[in-house]
Assembly symmetry: C2
Homo-oligomer: 350 residues x 2
DNA sequence: ATTAGCACTCAACAAGATAGAGTGCTAACA
DNA sequence: TGTTAGCACTCTATCTTGTTGAGTGCTAAT
């Protein structure tokens, strides 16, 4: 009878486990004792390694797809890896330059930033990326301004306390002139300042309508515009990357995943920003949704005006290169905060 | 020796050819004489059909992937089909309702319309769809307006003669006040009215800068914004559909196509709107680009304010259901024109 | 002109054979 | 006592081979 395996991992077991994980992350092929023993820093015979691997398997760190295959890391192995042994490779200066050049073009439309972020993340990590648009739930209004554009059109500008601006072109009847719009802007602003978007929409529906009298159609448009900017949104990027992974070499598998990614509700849940952590790493079975229990999701949050406003991250096979992913997320997060605070400039100070 | 085949297709040959094309479009599998003879409206023995098929092959309408396979239509066969025998199935009322409901939500941002159109086209045709943003080359300026938003930010609104509006948030130094922005708006408008965007950008760079004196940074931002709205753009939709076609069941093939679709220049060329035709159908070898010679591209143009402004279409295997594709493009085109003219309302009349 | 019959072709599928990488166990070794 | 060589065993991936079936072209009969 074999002696019971100790609960704590010996130095050597750690070394071997790390090697296995590193290798599997790179290739996606179960790794065997023979090929491991060839590594310069693992100077043992295959047999010795096999013994250790048997122990590691018993402890739950390794899995075998079938009897005569090599071992692959289990979810707990990845968890250990992420928590304790991963080397977060500093982003290379080339990559940093890459990210910069992506973002360098002046972008002042929020949607553009979101979309581009998704693209950057996808390109750099080679995974599917997710970016959530800023959550507007707790945002309050600072100002509403209507500007006449042409005979029949006006621009509605909504300025929020976090500095995010939404604007929409409205149609107005010809009778309305600049001074009327100014008056309207003032009434609307007075009634909704410091209210959340939801409250503001409500107020416009009930209070303002009666106060202002007619122009029902116009008020409806304004109401719709405000309500609309509350809507939750998730942008995907790098979707084509799934074709590069052997895990999805079967077209059917790939299609299933794509289908899955279309149900945005789940994605939105996964991009939840209520937690305290800056990074969230969900490995395989740690995911809440059954459908993603064989994948890992790594997310980070971004801020606008010092307030957590949304999050972004990537989703991929459990064997993803966590170190690289995290370093990219980190750097992109920094860039993103930079850009988004450019949005505000000093507009928030006074 | 067999007698030479006449140049013109007999009624029967037409019937057989059409059957073959219809069948192949549906299944993607080369169709044989036996299965053809089973069709109720083709009341000949397989042998007879075989003879006719041999003739059709000699005439260039049919191809064989290998000796003992059924026949598949050649590019000229599809061309004939599209020109002379295709039945353009009226869109079903269900589909029409579908399209309507897609577009029904109020959309007032041009980019949103473009993006949604791409999605609709992809969903309805099950092909990859392309939509080009309006080409701004010949658009002229009607008005430039700056509006102060917060201490450090202003909104730049560009109104064009076709009714398309672009706006951008700029950062301004705190010293600038409303009246100064008004003055600036007037100067800019006077100098650029009725000029194209390109000319306007040029003018702002050269003339206005000297006339207005300092605030170089602000002028640069305005210049960038105008220049930026000229940029060409193509939005893709329904990319995931390629996974549904046996032609791309091989992941490698699918990946290649995706790669190809990323080089937007080619797509832009294919969405060219200089031609006179409302619809353009390029079948297989009719395509200019080598890379698309095994695919078909069907495009249509859309108008804003009565002027051709951009185009949209789909790209797929040569065996696509041309009748359906065209009917969808047609209907979507109508809806698109509707929506885009809502943008204008009467803003253009005066 | 049409069609039945026949020999022939070829892709697709299934079954069997082989190679190679991996394992676990035991016995020898330092 | 921990390490390693050796060996029998397992299982996948790949290659080979045979079989099936849908399809063709040609010829001769209708």
């Amino acid at each position: 009878m074999r002696k019971a395996v100790s609960k704590v991992l010996s130095e050597r077991k750690m070394k071997i486990l790390k090697s296995i994980i590193d290798d599997y992350i790179l290739t996606g092929i179960p790794v065997g004792s023979r090929s491991l023993s060839k590594k310069p820093d693992l100077d043992f015979s295959p047999a010795t390694i096999r013994n250790e691997m048997a122990d590691l398997e018993e402890m739950g760190y390794l899995d075998k797809p079938h009897t005569s295959a090599g071992r692959m890391p289990s979810d707990i192995a990845y968890r250990l890896y992420v928590d304790r042994m991963m080397n977060i490779n500093q982003i290379t200066s080339q990559e940093a330059r890459n990210i910069r050049s992506y973002f360098n073009m002046k972008m002042n439309e929020l949607e553009q930033v979101i979309g581009l972020t998704a693209k950057v993340l996808g390109d750099l990590t080679h995974h599917v990326s997710l970016v959530s648009a800023p959550q507007m739930d707790e945002i309050t209004l600072r100002r509403i301004q209507l500007v006449k554009l042409t005979e029949n059109r006006a621009l509605l500008v909504i300025v929020t306390d976090s500095g995010i601006i939404k604007d929409t072109v409205l149609t107005v009847s010809s009778g309305i002139d600049d001074s009327y719009l100014d008056m309207l802007s003032n009434v609307l602003t007075q009634n909704t300042v410091d209210k959340t978007l939801g409250e503001a929409a409500h107020i416009i529906r009930n209070v303002c309508c009666s106060e202002i009298g007619d122009h029902k159609a116009l008020m409806d448009e304004i109401f719709a515009a405000i309500e609309n900017s509350e809507k939750k949104e998730v942008v995907l990027g790098g979707v084509k990357n799934i074709l590069d992974y052997p895990e999805y070499s079967d077209t059917k598998k790939a299609r299933e995943l794509l289908q899955l990614l279309e149900t945005k509700e789940m994605l939105y849940d996964m991009l939840d920003i209520t937690g305290d952590l800056e990074f969230s790493i969900k490995i395989g079975s740690e995911n809440t949704y059954e459908e993603f229990k064989n994948m890992s999701v790594v997310t980070a949050t971004y801020c606008v005006g010092g307030r957590k406003m949304g999050s972004f991250g990537i989703i991929g096979p459990t064997r993803m290169d966590y170190g690289k992913v995290i370093s990219v997320l980190n750097y992109v997060g920094l860039s993103l905060n930079d850009i988004l605070s450019c949005f505000l400039e000093n507009g928030n100070k006074k």
